[in-house]
Symmetry: C2
C-alpha cells in the first residue's frame, strides 16, 4: 500500500474508533425470547415477522405460539396464505425433480415426513389452539390413532409427480412402530401409495428427530439408495448429515420439534 | 401382529391401492421456476410467498426478481417490514448471545457477512431496480469503492452487544483484498469497530461463497477460535461445514449468491 494511502487509512481508523467509542453506550438490549415477547395485542405484522423467522430457522427451540399471535396463526393455517406458501414450495420441488437426470437404477428416493407434511393434523390443532396450548402427547396420539388425518394436497401433488418420474417415495416419521398399521391405512386412504419404505421410530427410542432421521438417512444411503430430495415441516427433518440433493421446508407456524 | 389385525391391514391396503390408482392421472405438473412464473401482475400475496420460500431456502439459484414482483420488493426493502423482520432476527441473535457461557479465553468469535448484513447496498439497489435488473458487477464495485454504504442498524445493535459480552466480531466477506481499505473505512465510519479480523477474498479466487467461507471458517477453528454465531443474508454465508453454534439468516429478497 502506498504511504499516502496507509496514512489516510490510519487517520480514518483513529477518527472512526473515537466515533465508535462515543456511541458505545447506545446499545439496546435484546428483547429475549421473541415468542414470549410479542407486543400486547400481537398484531399481524409482528406475528408475520415471527413466522418468517421460524421458517428461516432463526428462531428454534420454542414451545408454544405466543397468545398474542393465536388469531394470526389460526387465520394463517386455515386461510389462503398457508395454501399459497405450500404451493410455491411444492412447485419448486417439482421443478427440481423434473430437472433430475435419473440413473435408471431405480435407487433414487425422496424422503417425506408425515405429520404436517404428507398428512395434516389441522383437525386436531383446531381443538387445541393451533399451537398456543402446550403440546399434549396423549390427545395427539389419540388423534393419530383415528387414522383420519387429511392429506396436504400440495405434498400429494409432489408425491404423485415423483412416482411418474420414477423417484421412489420413502416416509420417514417420528411416529412409532406401533402406529405402522394406522399410518399405512391413513396414508393409503388419502391417496399416497406405492411407497418404497415407511420408516418409523422404534417404540421407546430416546432420540431427537435430528439424530433419528440423520441415522436413518445414513442407513438408506449405506443400503445403496440415493436421496435426491427431502421434505419436512421441521428443520430437524431436513438438516444434518447425510445431506440430500435438495431439501424443502414445508410451512408450519404451529409447533417446533427438536 | 395379530392375524386379525394383519388381515384388516391387508384389506385396507388393497382397497386403498385401487383408490390410489384411480386418481393417478390427476397429477398437476409443477410450474417450473417460480421466479420466472409469477402471475401477471404479480401481486403482494404471491410475491410474499416467493419471498418466504427464498428466506427458507426453498428457492435457490435464482438470478433476478421477477418483474411482476418489482414493486413488492421495492416496497418491502424500503418499508417497515424489512426493518421489523430484521429486528426479530437480531433480537433472537442477541438473546442467544446473552445465553452463552463464555470460556474466558477470549477465543469466542461471531462471524458477520458485510453486504446486506453489516452494511446496506440499498442506495445502489435503488438505482438498479432492487434486484429486478441482472447483477452488474462493474457498477456494483463502483458503489463499494465509494465507501458510503450505510450500516444496517439492527446488525450494528447485535455487533455492539457482542462486544459488551466479550464475543469478538469477525467479518467474512466476498469483497476482495483490494477493497480492504475502503471496507475498513466504511465499516468504521458506520460505527463498527474493534473487530478481531476482516477476512476478504484473494483477488482472482474462483470459489463459490459456500466454498470460500467454509474454508475460512475451518481455518479460524484450526487457529483455536470458537465460532459461536454466524450471520449473513445468504444461505451460502451460513451453511456448510464447520457448523457454528447458531446461524442467522438476515432477510434479503433482492439477490441470491451461490
Amino acid at each position: 500500500m502506498a504511504t499516502a494511502a496507509r496514512l489516510l487509512l490510519l487517520i480514518t481508523v483513529v477518527a472512526s474508533v473515537c466515533f465508535c467509542s462515543s456511541r458505545g453506550e447506545e446499545v439496546i438490549v435484546g428483547l429475549g425470547d421473541e415468542l414470549a415477547t410479542a407486543p400486547p395485542g400481537g398484531g399481524a405484522p409482528f406475528c408475520g415477522s415471527l413466522r418468517l423467522a421460524v421458517e428461516a430457522r432463526n428462531i428454534v427451540g420454542w414451545k408454544t405460539v405466543p397468545p398474542q399471535c393465536a388469531e394470526y396463526v389460526a387465520d394463517y393455517v386455515t386461510g389462503e396464505r398457508y395454501q399459497r406458501d405450500s404451493d410455491v414450495v411444492i412447485n419448486e420441488a417439482i421443478a427440481y425433480a423434473e430437472s433430475l437426470k435419473l440413473s435408471g437404477s431405480g435407487k433414487e428416493i425422496w424422503i417425506f415426513d408425515v405429520d404436517e407434511t404428507a398428512l395434516s393434523t389441522l383437525p386436531y390443532q383446531a381443538n387445541h389452539g393451533y399451537g398456543v396450548q402446550p403440546f399434549d402427547n396423549p390427545s395427539f396420539q389419540q388423534y393419530v390413532a383415528q387414522g383420519s388425518a387429511p392429506a396436504l394436497q400440495p405434498t400429494l401433488r409432489l408425491y404423485r409427480r415423483l412416482l411418474q418420474l420414477g423417484v421412489k417415495p420413502v416416509f420417514l416419521t417420528d411416529r412409532t412402530e406401533d402406529q405402522r398399521a394406522v399410518t399405512t391405512s391413513n396414508l393409503l386412504q388419502q391417496g399416497y401409495c406405492n411407497w418404497e419404505k415407511l420408516v418409523l421410530q422404534p417404540v421407546g427410542l430416546q432420540a431427537s428427530t435430528l439424530a433419528f432421521k440423520s441415522g436413518e438417512r445414513r442407513m438408506l444411503v449405506d443400503a445403496g439408495y440415493v436421496i435426491v430430495g427431502n421434505i419436512g415441516d421441521q428443520w430437524n427433518d431436513i438438516r444434518g448429515s447425510p445431506a440430500c440433493g435438495r431439501t424443502f421446508k414445508f410451512p408450519n407456524p404451529m409447533y417446533y420439534v427438536d
